[in-house]
């Protein structure tokens, strides 16, 4: 187990360097162009401004020199600054916790609701609840996320005044429930369906029949024997989903005015703030890698047949 973990962690290093290089090259070289072209409105920027910025950001050097500068700072824990002089460390430090909070709320909601719905419908196939879950998840999957977001915001926030339509700066947990539900809604539907299939399949397996035959109470059969085995595909889904939620919350963050990573990276792309884009994506890559590792480790905990040497 320890050696396995060490090997996986060491593998992160080349992946990390490879991805930063790739992203850097993609952002700087594949999308060439003057980052100051649109900065000054319908007129070109004054030459004095361009000259100062060019020198400050080493834009007159070849890309590999710039990359070396970037990596050198990165290993000192400094992501650099944006063209407007804001520290990227500060931007990430203020945006990341917000995104993380939102993602965790979304993950909790999708895990709790999705799993409950999946287990209940899986146990009573073709019953009323099963059909209800099937229809409602189909509905959620069919709706684009922004429709759900705007609809809930308008209905609950503007019409009925049950919650505030946007999230305040304090990011209170109560305010995050609606955005979290919106963000997690589609994954919630998938989790319900995966859990349902998995439960209903395992329900007929030998070890469950044995457990029931032994006379164990139903609660224990389902809660320990059945659920634990059926959770493997669900955990895979949840694990990769956290990664996706961290990076892909652009729409939800926009609707509810949450200052997160998604909106930041989107704006940085449109304004050619390459250093910010690279830095955020690098962190996202790290999150993905670590989540994958965590999921793999969880397999072993859930299924005794899986062991890592």
């Amino acid at each position: 187990m320890g050696r396995y973990l060490l090997r996986r962690l060491l593998q992160l290093v080349p992946v990390f360097i490879g991805t930063t290089l790739l992203i850097y090259v993609l952002v700087w070289v594949m999308v060439p162009g003057d980052p100051f072209a649109g900065k000054c409105g319908e007129r070109p920027c004054p030459p004095g401004f361009v000259a100062m910025m060019t020198e400050k950001f080493h834009l007159d050097q070849p890309w590999y020199v710039q990359y070396a500068h970037y990596m050198q700072n990165l290993f000192q824990g400094d992501f650099g600054t944006t063209f407007s002089g804001r520290s990227i460390n500060d931007i990430i430090a203020s945006a990341y916790p917000n995104t993380l909070k939102l993602a965790l709320v979304a993950l909790a909601i999708e895990a709790i609701i999705g799993l409950t719905a999946g287990v209940l419908s899986g146990l009573r196939r073709n019953g009323f609840l099963d059909n209800l879950v099937l229809v409602s998840t189909l509905f959620l999957i069919a709706l684009p996320i922004f429709v759900i977001g705007f609809l809930l915001q308008w209905l609950l926030g503007v019409q009925w005044h049950i919650v505030e339509p946007t999230v305040s700066n304090e990011m209170r947990l109560s305010e995050l429930i609606m955005p979290g539900f919106v963000l997690g809604s589609i994954s919630m539907a998938y989790i319900a369906r995966v859990a349902r299939t998995s439960i209903s399949e395992n329900r007929r397996s030998d070890y469950v029949r044995t457990a029931i035959a032994k006379g164990l109470p139903m609660r224990r059969v389902v809660g320990v024997h059945l659920l634990r085995n059926s959770l493997i595909p669900v955990v895979t889904l949840l694990g990769t989903d956290l990664g996706a939620l961290m990076g892909g919350a652009i729409v939800t963050e926009g609707i509810f005015n949450i200052k997160g990573i998604g909106g930041t990276v989107y704006r940085s792309i449109t304004t050619k703030e390459s250093a910010t884009v690279v830095s955020i994506v690098v962190i996202l890559v790290l999150v993905y890698l670590l989540m994958n590792l965590l999921v793999d480790l969880l397999y072993a905990a859930l299924d005794p047949r899986i062991r890592y040497e």
């Binding site: 004054p46 401004f49 361009v50 050097q61 945006a95 308008w154 926030g157 339509p165 304004t271």
Partner: protein, 545 residues
């Protein structure tokens, strides 16, 4: 010209004119003085792109805050009329070349120091000195000695560095005493006093020169009706009344919080829920079917703005050399239908070269702006014709697709040219191609005036070497007339000359004015009275609760 970040469109969502008093159903017009005195409002805004240094801010997010924090030598009345003295006691000249500017005594910066003549001259010299890299430096080009504080990088983006400029300060600025300074321009410029109301010309306190611009810009010290309290990136900027302010536009309320939104739809929903007191431009989604008017009722503010949506011709492309072809294209655009069908009547068809709200502008002087299919066909037949596809370009990151396609379709229907519209992904890439003079078809442009004078609609756009003459239009007659106009002894003469220049521009059709921008704002129940400034920002000093 400030560029709006939210729309990435250069026609900043701006500008309103008339005094708007609305909302209050009770008998008196204003608000309750007691409510107002300690009142606070929350208004919408966007994160300023750079620290708040006036000469370095060219976008609306930071520009609005700077307008609140500073008062310039002159101010532009909300109704769009001629500028009036604010910090200036008097601005005198005999030849439009040498100006003697006296400022009012006893005015204070927010840190308690007095506003003196040197605060202006030092600020302007700082902005003009090219190694400081101020984005608004070109505003000081009128002043004598501007060229001496500029230096050009000899090899562009190459490894060589720009040499030090010849001088540190412009020779045209001279402090006479604490409250008087003299400005000598390179050439007579009648419109110079009007320009002084633009935010690049505001004074900077002594403390600015002891800090780095970035440090100052995080905690700006101005001389306006409100002072800076705090700024949390991407969250909000807080301002409060400056009690020692003695000029006309004192605050009636106390606190103003500018909430920085990422999306205008989020701000709009906050407005509807009563969490936001003013939104300058409601989102496009609320405009369809006049939804915003139903939502807001009496709290909806419709205003017209001094900015124009334009399509410019790349005059450097031989395909567009023929004046008759350009005029034929312009006459083939059905502006009325486009403004009605696509903008739901929220914008108006352009019929003059300068926005008619601008002093010195002549309403209806764009004869090329009519919709006249027969004349268009006739001119097209007489012209050298057009081979291949005619592509109208726009930046696809803001809502320009619909109207640009409508323009192309209109041209296609009338002239039978294979015209279509094509989006360029982002404003940055779009501007890059325009700056490099690489456009191969007519392209979207927009213009919001920097200061209210017709000069601002001619010199930057249609004179050779103008800062936004990106299509490289050049007509020696226009250049000569514009030069005469700029150097005229007074504004009336200048306006008459500019009118002549515009007539020639009208015959040449270097661009196609399409619509005048409109603005749709909304405010909360709490606000009983509010006015918009000449560029459509909320006049926070007018707010009564």
């Amino acid at each position: 010209m400030r560029v709006s970040k939210r729309t990435s469109s250069a026609v900043a969502l701006g500008a309103a004119v008339a005094l708007i008093a609305s909302g209050c159903s009770s008998s008196d017009d204003g608000g309750d003085a007691g409510n107002s005195a300690d009142g606070a409002i929350v208004i919408d805004g966007t994160q300023p792109e750079v620290p708040l240094v006036p000469a370095n801010t060219t976008e609306t997010g930071g520009g609005a805050i700077i307008d609140y924090l500073w008062t310039g030598l002159v101010e532009y009345p909300n109704n769009g009329g001629a500028p009036q003295n604010a910090v200036a006691e008097s601005i005198e000249t005999t030849d439009s070349k040498v100006y003697t500017i006296k400022i009012k005594k006893g005015l204070k910066f927010h840190d308690g120091t007095e506003v003196k003549a040197a605060n202006f001259t030092k600020a302007w010299n700082w902005a003009a000195y090219s190694p400081n890299g101020a984005q608004n430096s070109s505003f000081f080009a009128d002043i004598q000695g501007f060229a001496d504080v500029q230096s050009e990088d000899p090899d562009g983006e190459g490894p060589q560095k720009a040499p030090e400029p010849k001088a540190k300060e412009m020779s045209g600025l001279k402090v006479v005493d604490d409250y008087t300074f003299e400005v000598t321009l390179g050439a007579p410029t009648a419109v110079f006093p009007t320009k002084l109301g633009y935010s690049a010309f505001v004074p900077l306190p002594d403390v600015f020169f002891t800090q780095t611009p970035d440090e100052f810009g995080k905690k700006p010290v101005g001389n306006g009706p409100v002072k800076f309290v705090s700024w949390e990136d991407d969250v909000s900027i807080k301002l409060t009344r400056f009690d020692d302010y003695t000029l006309r536009d004192k605050m009636k309320i106390k606190d103003v919080e500018v909430k920085l939104y990422q999306e205008d739809t989020a701000a709009y929903n906050d407005l509807l829920a009563g969490n936001l007191d003013f939104q300058q431009q409601v989102p496009v989604s609320a405009l369809a079917g006049d939804k915003w008017k139903n939502d807001l009722g009496e709290r909806a503010i419709q205003s017209t703005t001094p900015s124009t949506g334009i399509i410019a011709f790349p005059m450097y492309d031989p395909k567009f050399k023929d004046q008759k072809l350009r005029k034929a294209i312009s006459l083939a655009v059905n502006r009325q239908e486009i403004t009605e069908k696509i903008f739901f009547g929220n914008r108006t068809p352009a019929d003059s070269w300068a926005n008619p709200l601008t002093p010195g502008a002549v309403a209806g002087n764009c004869t090329a702006c009519q919709y006249n299919p027969d004349e268009a066909k006739r001119l097209f037949a007489e012209s050298s014709g057009y081979q291949g596809d005619m592509v109208f370009y726009y930046n696809a990151d803001a809502s320009h697709k619909e109207w640009m396609e409508a323009v192309a379709q209109s041209v296609k229907n009338v002239l039978g040219i294979n015209a279509r519209a094509e989006g360029i992904p982002t404003f940055a890439v779009f501007r890059e191609q325009i700056n490099a003079h690489k456009m191969t078809g007519p392209y979207r442009a927009g213009w919001q005036q920097d200061y209210p004078d017709v000069e601002n609609w001619v010199n930057p756009l249609y004179v050779k070497g103008g800062s936004s003459n990106d299509g490289l239009y050049s007509n020696p007659q226009v250049d000569a007339l514009a030069k005469e106009a700029s150097g005229a002894a007074n504004l009336d003469e200048a306006h008459a000359k500019f009118a002549e220049a515009v007539k020639i521009i009208d015959a040449d059709v270097p661009s196609i004015p399409v619509y005048f921008q409109g603005q749709q704002s909304g405010h909360s129940d709490k606000i009983k009275k509010v006015e918009l400034t000449n560029v459509g920002e909320i006049d926070i000093t007018s707010v009564e609760l």
